[in-house]
Amino acid sequence: MDTGDTAWILASSALVLLMTPGLAFFYGGMVRSKTVLNMMMMSFSALAIVPVLWVLYGYSFAFSPGGNQFLGGFKRLGLQNISVDTAYGTIPEYVFVGFQLMFAIITLALISGAIADRAKFSAWIVFSVVWITVVYFPVAHWVFDFGDNGGWIATKLKAVDFAGGTAVHINAGAAGLALALVLGKRVGWRRDPMRPHNLPFVLLGAGLLWFGWFGFNAGSAVGANGLAGLAFVNTAVATAAAIIGWLAVEFFRDKKGTSLGAASGAVAGLVAITPAAGALSPFGSILLGLVAGVLCALAVGLKYKLGYDDSLDVVGVHLVGGLVGTLLIGLLAVGDGLFYGGSLDLLGKQFVAAFVVLAYSFVLTYVIGKLIDVTIGFRVSEEDEVTGIDQVEHLETAYDYAGSSSGGSNLLKEL
């Protein structure tokens, strides 16, 4: 085991952990002040649920030896058969367990943006447990397990997905679309103003995501080496180019660039470079970022044309960004990309990986969502939604700037 590699993956794991609180702010700032806590709670509940399941069986289903190309084995249930001396490549396996855990958490949390302001919290919890088990753990195995009996995408198809364009972003994006369809539109969608209540929070969230994403992407080299360095530089420059791409669309359309556009462009670029960070040159990453920025900026308008309320654009940013990144590898990968004289072969593999994950996630999520909806119900009542989900589902309101001067509240009863 290499202490340098271990040090970097420990640091990367912490960085990726921070992405989920970051996402809570990115999403939370975008909703109305009466629903911000519920939005954040969907992220924080992912931080509560996933680690426990990961230890119990998730890591085993995704990475245990002894499985097949579709699912891992049972040797790691309850993290058995791992000690502080067990290695995974050049790092302790516990470190790898921690690193991969963080990917599972954020993937689940990403979905919540599609169903802002209207999901029963209890239904979200049930959904979380089922979805992470039935959808995420298998897909993570397909994409991230390179061992003997590893996943089919990683070891058979050999599509390129450096840090999770398919398993994380296409997966979450497709799931978000399915849930948005299951839950339906918010009351007052396209009539009432639903503008972000706190844009600095959106920028804070974008900043924390960005920071954490260096652990996500450069950490996916699973070592402190030149490949990690390349992924780092590619991540920085693709993100930058995607902001430029997104703001260019805005300048063209509205004559001005918005801060929400800059934050969204950054995330779009980070999404798109995720699968490609180890395969492109920095110059190729600029191209990829520009394309992702432009396409995602256009794609967030799709929901109005097609009529689904993907509230915070999980589809427009994560599904579209994930597709852009995954597919452009077929063109831009140094060596075997089409633009580098490669054949159509790689592009074909990328298509297969992208669309199988998309279809698997969409179909299963839709089914899970529907089952929850017809049994315990997925949505709060219309009256509760108008009142504000924070107050109804969490018995809280986010802000009280006036303090006691607002009068109106009174300590009734203590614990």
Binding site: G188, L395, S406, S409
Partner: protein, 112 residues
């Protein structure tokens, strides 16, 4: 002239504004307010301590109108803001001695 003050539910504001505009009312002043009345507040819980929040958010409108328009303005607001549920609010009318438009110094009817 009269000052019509209306306290309504926040999500009814847009409809009231449109109804008033349709009725020819060109200006008004709006403040955020909280109401206390039959409509109950709600309970919040912070680390196990329960709080009774007795005030509910309201929008408060002020419209200065000609004597002749008072009744129609009150009726317009009342019908646009009505949901039929407790807490729809109140509208009250107060006599106004005079009005001035700051920009021009015009007074009374001309100031509206």
């Amino acid at each position: 002239m009269k000052l019509v003050t209306a306290v309504i539910k926040p999500h009814k504001w847009e409809e009231v504004r449109e109804a008033l505009a349709a009725a020819g009312v060109a200006g008004m002043t709006v403040t955020e307010a909280s109401g206390y009345g039959q409509q109950k507040g709600h309970t919040e819980v912070y680390r196990g301590a329960e709080y009774d929040v007795s005030l509910v958010p309201k929008i408060r409108l002020e419209v200065v109108v000609d004597d002749a328009d008072v009744e129609s303005v009150v009726a317009t607001i009342t019908s646009a803001a009505q949901t039929g549920k407790i807490g729809d609010g109140k509208v009250w009318v107060i006599p106004v001695d005079s009005v001035v438009r700051v920009r021009t110094g015009e007074t009374d009817e001309a100031a509206l």
